[in-house]
Symmetry: C2
Subunit: 180 residues, 2 copies
């Protein structure tokens, strides 16, 4: 499916509402659970998505659009949220994420990007040359990947409770070795 | 995490709202996409969840609670939705699922199940002996597994669009051989 800006923005717009519908007001046992030692709980995912709003997607798009001679992105800290959000509630993080996302999408719309701009280059610190189009497609996929992760990690909290149903519930055996 | 009825009902209550936030009004290219030939699109998942409301979870709980000598479940048709929903819109299915789920949870609450009832036995046609508690835990996990699937299948529609980002987006390489 080829990348298009308007439906991509439409999907990005949905993520805070999806996470709020799934997580707001749930028991901490559900949103603090993990699937392995260095992996994210649903709480961590919301913090990680906030980090993305503040330090990843739009800052990198700005670097590309500045058209400087070295459009090199800053490396991204996957664990910035851990210290940042140590004393925060899930509800306050959900509200902050919704606000940041709304502002960022308003900015993205205001740029009125055309096909030529979408092909502008950036330099990823470890992946090498990328385009603005690939950056924006990766933003959408990154959201959806973390939504899938939240649902999967929540499902695994009942791993021992379903008895003989395990082979019919493949989500319970996805990512046996956590990889995100 | 041990099964508890109230938080399980709370999660089951959320699923229609989560799916509506993610899917209502999106382009058909997003909700008709699959990750492999015999696997479910997001549209199929909503139909499959409706089948679950009509033929799986509550009907099976009723069989258990009837305490007959042979509490054997009917086999479940994973592809019932295909012919049933051939002419339906996604929006009408989302609304139908929300209504069926609400009614089923109202019924479930009305049973005021206690610990003894949760241990009552049923007979799964292929998995063998199960308890009502395991059935209800499996219902929750089944929902969350299909939410994860919807997000994953949507993410994969942009597989070719993210360029060099693939190794940083593990959702794109989950279920390379579809298994649900």
């Amino acid at each position: 499916m080829p990348f298009e800006l308007a439906p991509s923005i439409d999907l990005l717009r949905r993520t805070p509402a999806v996470l709020t519908a799934l997580l707001e007001g749930v028991d901490a046992a559900w949103f603090r659970g993990r699937e392995g030692p260095d992996s994210f709980s649903p709480f961590d995912v919301v913090g990680h998505l906030i980090d993305g709003e503040e330090t990843d997607w739009i800052p990198r798009a700005r670097i590309i659009l500045a058209r400087g001679p070295q459009p090199r992105f800053e490396p991204y800290d996957r664990f910035r949220h851990r210290s940042r959000n140590a004393d925060r509630t899930l509800e306050s993080l959900l509200a902050e994420f919704a606000r940041l996302r709304e502002d960022n999408l308003e900015l993205l719309r205001s740029w009125r990007l055309g096909p030529d701009q979408l092909e502008l280059p950036g330099q990823h610190p470890s992946l090498g040359p990328v385009t603005l189009r690939q950056l924006l497609a990766a933003w959408v996929v990154h959201d959806l990947g973390h939504l899938a992760q939240v649902a999967r990690v929540m499902a695994k909290q009942y791993r021992e409770e379903v008895g003989p149903w395990v082979p019919y519930l493949p989500v319970l055996t996805d990512h046996e070795v956590p990889r995100s």
